[in-house]
C-alpha cells in the first residue's frame, strides 16, 4: 500500500512540477523506467507467491535501473546504442508480460 501511495505521489509531483529531463539522463531514463516497472511487477508477483521481501525489492529495483542504464550507456559507447536499447526493452517487456501472467493466474485463477 505504501509503495502504491508513493507511486501516486510521484506522479502527482511530476504533474505539478513538470520536470525537464536533464540532457545527460535522456538516453537512459526510458530504459530505467521500463526496468523499474519490471521490478515493480516482479515485486507484486513475489507478494502473491508469498516470497516478497522489502530488501529484495529495493535491491532488485535499484540494480535493474542501474544495469539497464549501464547497458544503454555501454551500447552508446560501442555504437550499438539503439539496437541495445531495443534489446533491453524487449527483454524487460517479456519479463513484465510473464510477471503479469503469473499475477493474473494468482488473482483470477485463470
Amino acid at each position: 500500500m505504501i509503495p502504491a501511495v508513493g507511486l501516486a505521489l510521484g506522479i502527482i509531483v511530476g504533474l505539478l512540477l513538470q520536470p525537464a529531463v536533464p540532457v545527460w539522463l535522456q538516453p537512459y531514463l526510458p530504459i530505467a523506467v521500463i526496468a523499474a516497472l519490471d521490478a515493480v511487477f516482479g515485486a507484486v508477483r513475489a507478494i502473491l507467491d508469498g516470497i516478497f521481501s522489502d530488501k529484495v525489492f529495493v535491491v532488485s529495483f535499484l540494480s535493474n535501473v542501474v544495469v539497464a542504464a549501464f547497458i544503454v550507456f555501454l551500447g552508446d559507447k560501442l555504437g550499438v546504442g539503439t539496437q541495445l536499447s531495443t534489446g533491453v526493452v524487449v527483454v524487460l517487456g517479456v519479463r513484465i508480460f510473464s510477471n503479469v501472467a503469473s499475477i493474473r493466474r494468482h488473482l483470477f485463477d485463470a
Binding site: M1, P3, L29, P30, A32, V33, D54, T82, D109
Partner: protein
C-alpha cells in the same frame, strides 16, 4: 488430453492471493517499506518526466545515428521534391509554349478572318477614305461610268467600298436600269454616293485626274464631288453564299 503441468506453485487459491495482497497493502512503517515508497515515488516522477519529454521531444534529444537517418531522409525527400519541381517546371514550360503557339495561331487566323470578311463584304469596316458624291439630276450617269469610278478607286488601293447602301465586292456587277443603276440586282438612284476606305489622298487624286471620274461626270452634265475624311464607315453588308461548283484545291505546302 491433460494440460501441461504448470510450474509448481504454493497450494493456495485466488482467495488466498487476494488476502496476501491485502496483507501486503497494510501500512507498515518499516524502513525498507519507506524506501520502497521512495523508489515508487521516484518511478512515478520519472514516468511523468519521460512522458512529458517524449511529447516535447525535438531534434536536439535524438541520438547521432537517428539524426543521421533523419538527415538522410530529408536529403532524399529534398532530391525527390527537386526532381518533381523540375518535372513540373518542364511541363509548365511545355504547356505555356503550346498555349502561346495556339494563341498566335488563333490571332493569325483571326486576322485572316477579318481580312477575308472585309473582302467578302460580310463585316463592316471603318477607316480613312473618301466619299464620292455624284449628283446626277439628268440621269446621264450610266452603269459603265459608275463601274469606271469603282475600278478607278480599286486601282488607287481602296480596300472596302459601298455605293449608296450596296457593298462592292469581287463579284459585284453593274447594269443600267430605268431611273438609276442596278448594282448586283439592287436598284439605286442618284445621287450616287460612293464610300471608299483607303489612302484618302491617293483615292481623291485618282478621282480628279484629267479624264477621270469627275471630269467624265462633268462632261455628262453631272456634278461629282470628292470629300476627304479621316474616318468613313462602310457598313453595307452582304451575305456569303456557299459556292455551288467551286471547291478549294488542297494546298500541297501544308
Amino acid at each position: 488430453m491433460t494440460p501441461p503441468e504448470r510450474a509448481p506453485r504454493p497450494p493456495h487459491d485466488a482467495r488466498d492471493a487476494w488476502a496476501r495482497l491485502r496483507r501486503a497493502g497494510r501500512p507498515a512503517l518499516s524502513r525498507s517499506n519507506l524506501l520502497a515508497m521512495l523508489l515508487a515515488a521516484s518511478l512515478g516522477f520519472a514516468i511523468i518526466a519521460q512522458v512529458r519529454q517524449t511529447s516535447v521531444q525535438g531534434l536536439d534529444t535524438l541520438r547521432e545515428d537517428e539524426l543521421v537517418r533523419i538527415f538522410a531522409d530529408v536529403d532524399q525527400d529534398g532530391e525527390r521534391l527537386g526532381d518533381e519541381v523540375r518535372d513540373l517546371q518542364t511541363s509548365l514550360e511545355l504547356l505555356e509554349s503550346q498555349t502561346t503557339g495556339e494563341k498566335e495561331a488563333e490571332r493569325a487566323a483571326q486576322q485572316r478572318l477579318d481580312a477575308l470578311r472585309i473582302l467578302a463584304g460580310t463585316a463592316p469596316a471603318a477607316g480613312p477614305g473618301i466619299v464620292l458624291t455624284i449628283d446626277d439630276p439628268t440621269g446621264a450617269i450610266d452603269a459603265p461610268t459608275l463601274l469606271d469610278a469603282v475600278q478607278e478607286l480599286r486601282d488607287a488601293g481602296a480596300e472596302a467600298m459601298q455605293v449608296n447602301d450596296v457593298r462592292i465586292v469581287a463579284d459585284t456587277w453593274f447594269a443600267d436600269a430605268s431611273g438609276g443603276i442596278s448594282v448586283s440586282g439592287s436598284q439605286i438612284r442618284p445621287p450616287y454616293v460612293v464610300t471608299a476606305i483607303g489612302d484618302s489622298n491617293t483615292l481623291a487624286g485618282a478621282m480628279q485626274i484629267v479624264g477621270g471620274v469627275t471630269a467624265t461626270a462633268r462632261q455628262k452634265g453631272a456634278e461629282a464631288t470628292v470629300d476627304i475624311r479621316t474616318r468613313v464607315v462602310v457598313d453595307a453588308l452582304l451575305s456569303v453564299s456557299t459556292p455551288q461548283y467551286a471547291r478549294p484545291v488542297p494546298t500541297t505546302t501544308s
